[in-house]
Symmetry: C2
Subunit: 320 residues, 2 copies
């Protein structure tokens, strides 16, 4: 049994990664988006890293996976009373990792080191790595100007029309060693792009200096799971962004965005009739239940992803 | 009705100050010890300031006044799980002010400005001021070495034998303008030293460069309330420290420590028989119920303090 690399963020990405983790434990490396990281009340928030950590540690709220189960807001109530910001609700448990992260960064530790320490303490055997230890910030370009995802989402309620994205500092930011090693592992079996926003969750990872080359040079199949199901995103604003950027909110638009990078694409069974058209574009397609409602759903989809990767590897081997 | 200045810290000091605040509202200025401030998990903790703010805002736990009522520890549990320190329990609500304080200090705001903002938002009309905007740290000198009060209290359980105190940087730290103005106010009626630890809560304030001179030059009576009742401290380690420093754990020892600074001293009724001896030393003494169990007790003691100050002012006026 080989190793697997997953990449992405958000709750969708975290759920599939959790499924892969149940199958592969320490043989999984996870590359997490940090382009949506932000500073707030003096603390360093890494929403995609924390969502991933909660899921892999089994601590996440099964409905709102970006926060731990049983979240409370006592600190936030006092913060507001004392004159702190009232936007961006800050859960009590959700503040623990940002506090320790801020302390670690101030002490000169890298985000990779801090993340590794979190995983060790929370019993996560997989290697969870930020896409870079350098600061990279995704800017959503809108008709009203450039904003962070955090502001776009919480202050602007996803309303401004999106015209593009800018991944500030991504090209200059180096890929952490743990990612280089995972993508060069001789027993790498699959690279999995999670069902998450292609623009601000997956693309920033691909924009890190040298990341695309690493992905293209490695020999294992790259599989993406569509975040678009039945014409919309399950969570988040991907479908709205796609339409504003002039793309139909269809799995096909996502697949075309990953073109030349992926070997296989997984679409949900509700979109089964789109499989033929995608195959005609030269992409291997698997139709599967991609909506993960239960922990079992996560493992089931992960099993399908791995099987699909194996099949593609065989096809590639036969063609070679 | 004139103005009042209170000084001190801890829950005892906060309770008496709260009583004075109910009587004088905006005509009260509070000088708070910051010698026991400390940094922890990257945040700036000011325990005496926060205790004072909770009390004046009516938010404090009536039993454990250093934290807000209904405190919970969800963040702390997550912090420990993720590898954070397990000593010094950090309450959810109790972290709000340190987070905002750290953010403010990092942005270049002074501790006075930050404290003023807290008070404005929490509806506190009194002027609450840290003893200095410069960093001053009290070191408790023990047979095992010099430690902060935080470490002495929480890590060492108050066990090491105390041999002295060092108020690092106090002499060089300037008195904030708000304190200078309050102590020079022509209508100043009383300066009140709260019933709190004389060594690490009151003395650091007196050691700030120029503070003693300001106190001596102003004309209003200086009244101290004994933190020692019936041979012990109501809360904290004052009595133990006194014995180790070679002083009897009696109100007299506290009064002698403030000698030449105070005009009047208030002792509890259980220590009534010590009044004569103190008076023989040339100190005006009031015997009163000093144990504040209820909000009314706080106001009752505050009324006694003000009346006592008035009587002393009259005596001084007659003598002049």
């Amino acid at each position: 049994m080989g190793t697997v690399v997953a990449l992405g963020g958000q709750f969708g990405g975290a759920k599939l990664t959790d499924g892969l983790y149940r199958l592969r434990k320490k043989d999984l490396t996870v590359i997490v988006n940090t382009g949506d990281d932000f500073e707030h009340v003096g603390l360093a928030f890494s929403p995609d890293l924390d969502t991933m950590i909660y899921a892999l540690a089994g601590l996440e709220n099964p409905i709102a996976g970006w926060e731990p189960r049983g979240e409370t807001y006592k600190l936030f109530e006092m913060l507001k009373m004392a004159g702190g910001p009232d936007r961006i609700p800050l859960g009590d448990q959700s503040l623990a990792l940002p506090i320790l992260r801020s302390e670690g960064l101030a002490a000169g530790r890298t985000l990779s080191e801090i993340t590794r320490s979190f995983c060790q303490h929370l019993g996560i055997e997989a290697t969870v790595v930020p896409m870079s230890d350098e600061r990279v910030r995704t800017q959503i370009l809108t008709r009203e100007g450039a904003v962070s995802f955090q502001d776009y989402f919480s202050e602007l309620a996803c309303e401004p029309v999106v015209t593009g994205f800018h991944y500030a500092n991504a090209a200059q930011a180096p890929v952490p060693d743990a990612i280089v090693n995972a993508l060069r592992a001789p027993d790498l079996e699959a690279v999995v792009i999670g069902p998450c926003n292609p623009y601000h969750t997956v693309q920033p990872i691909l924009e890190i200096g040298g990341m695309k080359e690493l992905l293209r040079k490695q020999g294992a199949p790259v599989i993406a799971v569509s975040p678009i199901v039945g014409g919309g995103a399950l969570q988040g604003s991907a479908a709205k962004m796609m339409q504003e950027l002039g793309h139909a909110p269809l799995p096909r638009s996502v697949a075309m965005g990953y073109y030349k990078l992926i070997d296989g694409f997984i679409i949900d069974q509700v979109d089964a009739e789109q499989a033929e058209g995608l195959r005609a574009s030269g992409i291997e397609v698997l139709v599967a239940p991609t909506v993960m409602r239960s922990p079992n759903d996560r493992v089931d989809l992960a099993v399908q992803v791995i099987k699909f990767a194996k099949r593609i590897a065989e096809i590639k081997a036969q063609a070679a």
